[in-house]
C-alpha cells in the first residue's frame, strides 16, 4: 500500500484513471495507463504444458497474444466463456498480454485519498494481486497490480 501511495505522490495531480471490470461477482480495476486496447473474445489456441490460468494464444493483428483467464488466476472457478467476455490487452514492459474478464464496466477517476489499504485477510489472492481497494457508491473495487497476474514462467527472453 505504501508503495502505491508513494506512486500517487509522484504524480503531479492526485487523480488517476482506472478501468473497472467484473470477474465473477467481484469488481476490479487496473491503471488505464497499462491498457492498450479492449477487444471481444475470440477462441484461443491452447498452449501445451501451460499453467491452468493461461487460456492460450490469439492473433492480435499479426502478433501472438497470450490470454490470462483472470477468474482462474484469481482463484475463482473458471468461467464458461461466451461471446460477451472481453479481453483487456495490457502492456508490461515490452510484452503484451490479454486479460480475459467478464465485462468492462467504466472508467474511474480516483484520488489518492480514496484508495484504501487491502484488509488483512487470509485470501492468497488478496495478498498477491490486490494493491488497494476503492469504495464507491456502495461498490467495492480491488486495484490489481498488473505485473503480478501475468504468467511467471520465463517472462524475460531466454535468448
Amino acid at each position: 500500500m505504501t508503495a502505491l501511495a508513494s506512486l500517487f505522490e509522484q504524480k503531479s495531480g492526485t487523480a488517476r484513471e482506472l478501468i473497472a471490470f467484473a470477474v465473477g461477482k467481484q469488481e476490479f480495476c487496473i491503471d488505464v495507463m497499462s491498457v492498450r486496447e479492449i477487444r471481444g473474445w475470440t477462441p484461443a489456441t491452447v498452449l501445451p504444458h501451460s499453467q491452468s490460468f493461461v487460456r492460450g494464444v490469439i492473433n492480435l493483428r499479426g502478433a501472438v497474444l497470450p490470454i490470462v483467464d483472470l477468474a482462474v488466476r484469481l482463484g475463482f472457478p473458471p468461467a464458461e466463456v461466451m461471446g460477451r467476455h472481453v479481453i483487456i490487452v495490457v502492456q508490461v514492459g515490452s510484452q503484451f498480454v490479454g486479460l480475459l474478464v467478464d465485462a468492462v464496466s467504466d472508467i474511474l477517476s480516483v484520488s489518492e485519498s480514496e484508495v484504501l489499504p487491502p484488509p488483512d485477510v487470509a485470501s492468497e489472492m488478496a495478498k498477491r494481486f490486490v494493491c488497494g481497494l476503492i469504495a464507491m457508491e456502495g461498490r467495492m473495487l480491488s486495484i490489481l497490480s498488473v505485473d503480478s497476474v501475468l504468467p511467471e514462467q520465463e517472462r524475460s527472453d531466454p535468448q
Binding site: 501445451p48 492473433n59 531466454p158
Partner: protein, 733 residues
C-alpha cells in the same frame, strides 16, 4: 560536434572500413590468382588509403601508422616498381589481415598482437625500400626499431650538405581541370582541390566561365566551370596527380609539366605523350577488345574447333569473371544504407498483409461469393500483389553469401599456417543470395567446417606426396540455389573419413555397442553425435569445445540439414541445405485433438497410414511401428503435448516419419493432415515465453494462431518422459 554525431560518424567509418577491407582482400586474392589489371591494384591502394584517411580523422594512431607502411608498398606495386607475385602477395595478404585486426580493435577494443604487427610492418618495410635494411632486419631483431628511422637519418645530411639539393628543382605544371557533374554528385569540391594544390607550391588559377548558360537555362546539377591552373612546385608530378586521385574519372584532367628545371624540353614531350597514353589506357584496351571480337570471327571458330572439354570450360570460366569485373568496377549499382530494423518492420508488416489477405479470401469463400465475381477476381490480383511485395521485401534482406565466404580465405591461411599444411581455397557461387538472418548464422558453422576440413580432412604435405597427390590440398566452398533452398558444399580432397577409427572412437566412448551393424554412411554420421571427437589430442584449431554435433544443431536450428559424402583417399564433402529465409517456413498442417499444428517439412521424411497390425506395444506405455524390417518409436503428439491423456488409436490417425536430433527416426502420430503450405513464423517468446515441444507460432488463413511443432523436443520428450526445450527454431516477427 555533439558526441552522438561523432559516434554516428565513427559508425559509418567502421562500416566503410568493412567494405574497404573486403575490397582489399578480394583485390589481393585476384592479384594472387594472377589476373589482376591496374584497376584492381588501384582499387586495393584506394582501399588502404581511405582507411588511413578515416583513421587519421578519428586519431586512431596505430591504424594510421600501419596503413601508411602498407600503402607505401602498394604504391610501389601500383607504380610497377614492385611486382606483386608470390611472397609479395602473401605479405600483402598478411598485412590485410593485420589491418583488419587493427580496425576491429579500434572499433571493439581489445588487445592487438604487437609482435605480429611489428613483423608484418617489417616485411612491408623490407618490400617498399632499403633492401639493405631488410637484410639487416633478418640478421638481428634488436636493430629493427632503429632501422625504421635509418632512411631519415641518412637523408637529412644530404639535404644539408649538398647545395644542389638545398633548393630543390622547381617545376611548372599547367593543369586544366574540368569537373563532370558526377564530381559534385560525389560531394567533391574544386575549392578543396585548389587548396591542396596551393599546399604544393605557388598557384595561379583562372576560372573559365565561358560555358555557363543564361540563368533561365541553368541546370543546377550540371557542371559548367573549368579551371586552368599554373603551378610552380618542388614536388614531382606524382604528388600533383595525387591531389586529383579521388576525382579520377569524375573530371577531364590534363597535367602538363612546362619549363621544368630538371628535364630538357625533348624529354618533356615524350613524358607528356606517355602521360597521355597512361591517362587513357582503359579506353584503348576496350577498343582493342571490341575490335578483336568484332572483326575476327575465326577466333570463335577456332574455339569451336577445340576439344569439347574446352568448349564446356570456356563459358563457365569466362562469364563469372566478366560479371565480377562489372560488379567491382564502374558498373556497380547504386545502393543505399538502411537500418536493418526498418526492413524488419517492413517484413513484419508484409507478413501480416499475407495473413490478412488469406483471411479475406477465406471469409469471402465462407460468405458464399461465387468465384467469378469481380470481388474474387480483385482478390486474386490482391493475392498476386501481396506475393510480389513479399518477395520484394525478402529480396531486400537477401544478400549474397559473399559476405561470409570472403572471411574464409583468411581463416584458411591461419589454419593452414597453424597445421603446417598447404591449402588452396576455391569458392564458387559467391553471388548466391539468401536472407541476411541465414547468412549471419551461417558464419559459425561454416568456419568450423572449414577448420575441420583442413585440420582433419587434409593430410600433411608429405603424406599427400606419398599418396601421389599434389602437396597443396584443395578446399572448395560453393553455394547454389536448388529447389527453393540454398545448398552449400564444403569439400576437401583429403583422406576422407577414417571409418575404422571413427567406429573405434564411437565404441570407446560408448556411443554405439561393439556389435552394431553400421553402413558406411551410418559410420560417417557418427561424427555428428554429441560427445564425439576424432582429434586424438585436442588441437588449437578444432578443439574449441565445439563438435560437429553443435554444427549440426545450429544448422537444424536454421531449418536446414547436413549430409556427408566421403570416399577414402579422395576426400569428403559436407553439404548444407538451408531455407532461403527464416521469416517463412514450409510446413505440413495437421490436426491433433482438435488443435491445428504445423510440422516443419524439413524434418519430415514421409507420411504413412499405419496398419494396426504393424503397431506393437513396447514396454509399459511405449509403442513402436514396424516399417521396412525396422521398429520405429511411435510418438502420440496429442498425448505428448498434453492435449489428451489417453493414447490415440493409431489406426484412425496418420503417422509422420521424421528425422530428429542425431538422425534417429520416429513416427509422429497425428489425427489428420490438412495440407502443406508456407507459413509466416511468429514469435511466441515475445509476449509469452518458451513452450516445451513448440518451436514458434504462425497465423493461419482463418486468423487463428497455430503452433509450429518442435519435432526434436517432442521426440526427445517421448524418450525421456518429459519435455525439455531444445534449440528453438529461429524466430522472426
Amino acid at each position: 560536434m555533439a558526441s552522438s554525431d561523432m559516434d554516428a560518424l565513427r559508425q559509418i567509418f567502421f562500416q566503410e572500413c568493412e567494405e574497404q577491407l573486403a575490397e582489399l582482400e578480394s583485390g589481393l586474392l585476384e592479384i594472387e590468382s594472377g589476373d589482376a589489371d591496374s584497376e584492381i591494384v588501384n582499387a586495393v591502394f584506394r582501399a588502404v588509403h581511405s582507411i588511413k584517411g578515416g583513421a587519421g580523422a578519428f586519431a586512431i594512431e596505430n591504424l594510421v601508422r600501419f596503413a601508411h607502411v602498407f600503402e607505401t608498398v602498394l604504391d610501389e606495386v601500383r607504380k610497377g616498381r614492385l611486382s606483386a607475385a608470390g611472397p609479395v602477395v602473401e605479405t600483402l595478404l598478411r598485412a590485410a589481415d593485420v589491418l583488419a585486426d587493427l580496425v576491429r580493435v579500434a572499433r571493439d577494443g581489445g588487445d592487438v598482437d604487437e609482435a605480429r604487427i611489428r613483423s608484418v610492418s617489417d616485411e612491408l618495410a623490407a618490400l617498399s625500400g632499403a633492401p639493405a635494411a631488410a637484410a639487416e632486419a633478418d640478421a638481428s631483431e634488436d636493430n629493427l626499431e632503429d632501422l625504421d628511422f635509418k632512411p631519415v637519418v641518412v637523408d637529412l645530411p644530404v639535404f644539408d650538405d649538398a647545395p644542389i639539393f638545398a633548393e630543390p628543382p622547381v617545376a611548372e605544371y599547367s593543369i586544366t581541370f574540368k569537373p563532370h557533374p558526377s564530381l559534385y554528385a560525389n560531394a567533391n569540391e574544386p575549392a578543396v582541390l585548389m587548396r591542396e594544390l596551393e599546399r604544393l607550391g605557388e598557384i595561379t588559377v583562372v576560372c573559365d566561365t565561358a560555358s555557363v548558360p543564361p540563368l533561365t537555362e541553368l541546370d543546377p546539377e550540371a557542371a559548367y566551370l573549368s579551371w586552368s591552373i599554373e603551378l610552380k612546385t618542388t614536388h614531382g608530378e606524382e604528388d600533383v596527380r595525387a591531389v586529383f586521385e579521388f576525382v579520377d574519372g569524375d573530371c577531364d584532367l590534363t597535367i602538363v609539366g612546362a619549363n621544368s628545371a630538371v628535364t630538357d624540353p625533348g624529354e618533356d614531350d615524350i613524358a607528356a605523350l606517355l602521360r597521355r597514353v597512361r591517362e587513357e589506357p582503359v579506353e584503348l584496351m576496350e577498343q582493342v577488345d571490341t575490335s578483336l571480337s568484332d572483326t575476327t570471327p575465326d577466333h570463335q571458330e577456332l574455339a569451336l574447333a577445340g576439344t569439347p572439354r574446352d568448349l564446356q570450360a570456356a563459358p563457365l570460366k569466362a562469364e563469372p569473371a566478366k560479371g565480377d569485373k562489372g560488379a567491382a568496377g564502374e558498373g556497380t549499382q547504386p545502393t543505399i544504407r538502411v537500418e536493418l530494423d526498418r526492413v524488419d518492420r517492413l517484413m513484419n508488416l508484409v507478413g501480416e498483409l499475407v495473413i490478412n489477405q488469406a483471411m479475406l479470401s477465406q471469409r469471402l469463400l465462407e460468405a458464399g461469393l461465387a468465384r467469378s465475381t469481380e470481388v474474387s477476381s480483385g482478390l486474386d490480383e490482391f493475392e498476386q500483389l501481396t506475393r510480389d511485395i513479399q518477395e520484394g521485401v525478402m529480396a531486400i534482406r537477401a544478400q549474397p553469401v559473399k559476405s561470409v565466404f570472403q572471411r574464409m580465405p583468411r581463416l584458411v591461411r591461419e589454419v593452414a599456417a597453424a597445421t603446417s599444411k598447404k591449402v588452396r581455397l576455391v569458392t564458387e557461387g559467391e553471388g548466391t543470395e539468401v536472407d541476411k538472418t541465414v547468412i549471419e548464422r551461417l558464419a559459425d558453422p561454416l568456419t568450423h567446417m572449414i577448420r575441420n576440413a583442413i585440420d582433419h580432412g587434409l593430410e600433411k604435405p608429405e603424406a599427400r606426396s606419398a599418396a601421389g597427390k599434389r602437396e597443396e590440398g584443395l578446399v572448395r566452398l560453393s553455394a547454389a540455389h536448388r529447389s527453393g533452398r540454398i545448398v552449400i558444399d564444403i569439400a576437401d580432397d583429403g583422406a576422407g573419413i577414417n571409418r575404422p577409427r571413427v567406429r573405434a572412437i564411437a565404441e570407446e566412448k560408448g556411443l554405439i555397442p561393439p556389435t552394431a551393424q553400421l553402413t558406411d554412411e551410418e559410420i560417417d554420421n557418427l561424427i555428428f553425435l554429441p560427445g564425439f571427437s576424432t582429434a586424438s589430442t585436442i588441437s588449437d584449431i578444432s578443439g574449441r569445445g565445439v563438435g560437429m554435433d553443435v554444427v549440426k544443431r545450429s544448422i537444424q536450428a536454421l531449418g536446414g540439414r547436413v549430409s556427408i559424402a566421403s570416399r577414402p583417399g579422395e576426400g569428403s564433402t559436407f553439404t548444407l541445405s538451408l531455407p532461403l529465409t527464416l521469416a517463412v517456413l514450409y510446413g505440413m498442417v495437421v490436426t491433433v485433438a482438435d488443435q491445428t499444428l504445423v510440422v516443419p517439412l524439413t524434418s519430415i521424411i514421409e507420411t504413412l497410414k499405419p496398419k494396426l497390425s504393424d503397431v506393437h506395444g513396447f514396454g509399459g506405455e511405449s509403442r513402436v511401428i514396424a516399417l521396412r524390417n525396422n521398429f520405429i518409436p511411435l510418438v502420440d503428439v496429442g498425448r505428448e503435448l498434453g492435449y489428451r491423456s489417453q493414447s490415440a488409436d493409431p489406426g484412425a490417425g496418420v503417422a509422420i516419419l521424421v528425422e530428429s536430433d542425431g538422425g534417429a527416426h520416429s513416427a509422429l502420430l497425428v489425427d489428420a493432415i490438412q495440407g502443406q503450405r508456407q507459413v509466416v513464423i511468429k514469435s511466441l517468446e515475445a509476449n509469452y515465453g518458451r513452450v516445451p515441444g513448440i518451436a514458434a507460432a504462425t497465423i493461419l488463413g482463418d486468423g487463428r494462431v497455430a503452433l509450429i511443432l518442435d519435432v526434436d523436443a517432442v521426440v526427445a520428450g517421448s524418450r525421456n518422459g518429459s519435455m525439455s526445450p531444445e534449440i528453438p527454431l529461429a524466430l522472426a516477427g
